[in-house]
Amino acid sequence: MPIKSINGCIGCEECIKSCPTDVLRLNPDSKKAEILYPEDCQICHLCRMYCPVDAIVITPDKSIPVIVSWG
């Protein structure tokens, strides 16, 4: 997974708002951010950088094989 986990979320929604590709949403029950559409993560780390409490873990791999020009 590109965006892997959120630990210690305070529910401020900064990551949700700053994700360009709408990967994160607020869980209506826990009121915390959850990774809802990880397949659309572009691994740009904006969510992690905007997070005030350093809660987001991102790995460089993608959950689906990626298409490149040559390989």
Partner: protein, 213 residues
Amino acid sequence: MKTQNYIIKLSVLIFSFLIVPLLLYFTGNFQRRSTLMETLSITTILGFSLLLSQFFTSRLNIGLVKKIRMVNVLAIHRFIGYFFIAVILLHPFFIIVPKFFDNGVSPSDAFVKLITTFSTTGIILGIIGYTLMLLLMVTAYFRFKMHLNYKTWRRLHGYSALLFVIAATWHVIDMGRHSNTLFSTYYVLMVVIGVFYLLKTYVTNTGKHENKT
């Protein structure tokens, strides 16, 4: 014989409130961060587990009091109290420490965001817990200046500790970066035992030791 016994008693305390959380920490599948942040995390976790140990380094632990005398128990209680409450008082600031090392959100903005996100139960409980903890610390420090009789003060201390522990534990389980199932179970277990002793002592209080200090 007597020496051995209190060593065992103290060892049990050390094991329960130092070794166990450390074991849970190092065996848990947590994202490891920088050495500084790992140190701060461990300090905070131990700070909290040792605050939970306060139930057992007090008069409630009749067994221990009998073995090493109340003054010594109180010394331990007081040391852990002041020292680790200070750690826990600082922990909201530990959380934003990484913001000092990057060019993104400023530490002050991060901190304001942290303490003003009132949409989550965890933050509200945290703020309540923090206030109660301050109250506990201040009333403990100034207990002789408050001109309360000892029994009243002790009840105030005990019950506000009870409220604090419930709010804080709930906050920790809800928000904690390292609150996995094992950690949560451990906290709940310790709190339940502690609260049980507290209520047992207070509710069925025979007043045996009340006039000693």
